[in-house]
């Protein structure tokens, strides 16, 4: 059965990859345009007036945050919209009738989310090279935080897709929860700049840990201890994975 599951995982991953590549104008181009505007407006125009942050130019400082922001948005929306569309069009039934275990279903969608994030991340990084030279403090930390973030938000998107009953439900979470958390998670500023009260509140924002970890990988500066950042991400991944597994196994929103 292991070979069968592996083939099924490969099939689902290819299907998911084909999906976001087929609609590349919707999936790959918008984050590139948005982050380019951020680079130009915040980094280049306003950033010059802000001066240095944590010992780096403002443009250098926001690059890791903007890459992470595009990774979070891409992984989340890829999985939530793909899963919900398949539910809406009923072609999720292709998976439900087949001998595909829940673990394979979850990983198939997550691999789709990771794939799109990697492509978007690379494109945004290429755009950033027009403004600042590439620097990497720790490749292992860059790869680790990148992957953990993509997995975590793919799982969060999957959870959204499972509960969603309409296309509105798929867009509510990114607009009203994810976007504010991302903006407040340290993309454009160091958490240490916030007043003490808001620093405490920020500790409950998981995105803070991901941006902090990734920024450490790129620049070598941190807002929160690196080990703590990794542990928080792993905890979120495990919790989201278990919840998704339980809901799909029980057929929440999938089987009557």
């Amino acid at each position: 059965m292991f070979k069968l599951y592996l083939t099924a995982l490969k099939g689902l991953s290819v299907k998911e990859t084909n999906r976001y590549l087929r609609i590349w104008i919707q999936t790959l181009v918008p984050p590139v345009i948005t982050t380019s505007l951020y680079f130009i407006i915040f980094g280049n125009l306003i950033g010059k007036r802000i001066g240095e942050m944590d010992g780096f130019s403002y443009m250098e400082f926001i690059v890791p945050g903007l890459i992470m922001m595009s990774v979070i948005t891409s992984s989340y929306s890829n999985v939530s919209s793909s899963f919900f569309s398949q539910k809406f069009q009923k072609n999720i039934e292709e998976l439900l009738v087949a001998p595909v275990p829940t673990h394979i279903i979850i990983w198939g969608f997550v691999i789709g989310g990771i794939g799109r994030s990697v492509l978007v991340g690379i494109l945004v990084t290429i755009i950033s090279l027009f403004f600042v030279p590439l620097q990497v403090h720790s490749w292992s930390m860059v790869i680790l935080t990148f992957l953990m973030t993509a997995i975590l938000f793919s799982l969060a998107g999957l959870l959204n897709g499972i509960f969603a009953k309409s296309f509105d439900d798929v867009s509510i979470v990114p607009t009203f929860i994810l976007q504010p958390l991302t903006y407040l998670g340290g993309v454009f500023f160091a958490i240490s700049m916030l007043p003490p009260f808001w620093q405490v509140i920020s500790q409950f924002n998981p995105i803070v840990y991901m941006i902090s970890g990734f920024r450490f990988g790129i620049l070598g500066v941190i807002d929160v201890p690196i080990l703590f950042s990794i542990l928080i991400s792993i905890t979120f991944i495990v919790v989201l994975y278990v919840i998704n597994w339980y809901l799909i196994e029980k057929g929440r929103g999938l089987r009557s």
């Binding site: 099924a8 099939g11 292709e94 009738v97 089987r255």
Partner: protein, 304 residues
């Protein structure tokens, strides 16, 4: 004996409290061509939904070729191919992508799946359309695509839920030939349909579900033998008179059509004799409805 499908005391109560299945027992032998009939809302789709893992059962047992769906779910799923009632493929994927992806979910390698896609898409006359997005296909083509998709992992049990709904007569007959061949080559087929002529033409055995219970489970021959009366329609030359046929129940539907109920042991010669004596000319004759349809209505009315 190992059955292709064995259902024991299957019950389903939906969240709203609707009791869809009230303890179904059903056995379908390997190699059979079995029709599952019933009025809308009788429980056919729920039964099929449970067998294909699209509906959670409330209680009962389902075995597919001896594999218990509670403990050997993956092995059981491998045996089944489903052609659902509604189109449920991605409209944006191409015909070939749809069938190849589906084969992958059953562990068929991409290389093998591409080979099989040629075989099954050619068989269903869709090979020329392999690179076309599914949304561009006609209704009949979409139905054929779903059959091809269900065959890609070469299942031992093929379940078709209203496969010819909305399909024109010519295509329907082509599909019947195809399904017959498939069954002759060893695939067990379970079919639900509203076209009772289809069930009579194709199936050896039949089950009738009514209000969540199996009210008939027998061979097509013995079921049709239960039909005591057949209603025939005689198109007669208008004469302005009402014909009287002694020993038969008859009714003049309009000036040119006479409906006559004929018992199995009566024969129709006497009808013609009496009409000839009355100087009434019979222009043509036909069945009021399909034999199975007549029986089906009688059975479902009795239990309603």
């Amino acid at each position: 004996m190992t059955y292709a499908l064995e259902i024991k005391d299957l019950k389903k109560v939906y969240a709203g409290g609707v009791e869809a299945l009230r303890g179904i027992d059903l056995k379908v032998e390997e190699g059979d061509f079995y029709a599952l009939l019933g009025p809308n809302g009788a429980g056919k789709s729920t039964t099929i939904g449970i067998v294909t893992s699209l509906v959670n059962k409330t209680s009962g047992k389902v075995n597919v070729f001896g594999y218990d769906m509670d403990t050997q779910l993956m092995q059981a799923k491998l045996q089944i191919g489903l052609v659902p009632q509604e189109f449920n493929f991605s409209p944006f994927e191409t015909v070939q992508q749809i069938v190849v992806n589906q084969a992958g979910y059953y562990g068929v390698s991409r290389k093998e799946a591409l080979k099989r896609s040629e075989k099954y898409l050619k068989q269903s006359d869709l090979w020329e359309k392999r690179n076309v997005q599914a949304q561009m296909l006609s209704g009949g083509m979409k139905r054929r695509l779903m059959i091809s998709r269900a065959l890609m992992h070469e299942p031992r049990l093929l379940i078709l839920d209203e496969p010819t709904a909305g399909v024109d007569i010519e295509l329907r007959r082509e599909m019947w030939t195809f399904l017959k061949e498939l069954n002759e080559n060893g695939t067990t087929i379970i079919l639900t349909t509203h076209y009772l002529e289809e069930a009579e033409m194709l199936c050896r055995n039949i089950g009738i579900i009514q209000k969540g219970q199996l009210i008939e489970d027998t061979s097509m021959k013995s079921l049709l033998a239960k039909l005591q009366y057949e209603t025939i329609i005689l198109d007669i030359e208008p004469s302005g008179r009402t014909p009287v046929i002694k020993g038969y129940t008859s009714e003049l539907m309009d000036d040119g059509s006479l409906s006559v109920e004929v018992a199995r042991d009566q024969g129709i010669n006497e009808v013609f004799n009496q009409l000839t004596e009355q100087g009434i000319k019979v222009l043509s004759m036909r069945n009021k409805s399909n034999r199975l349809e007549e029986l089906f209505l009688k059975l479902t009315e009795e239990t309603a």
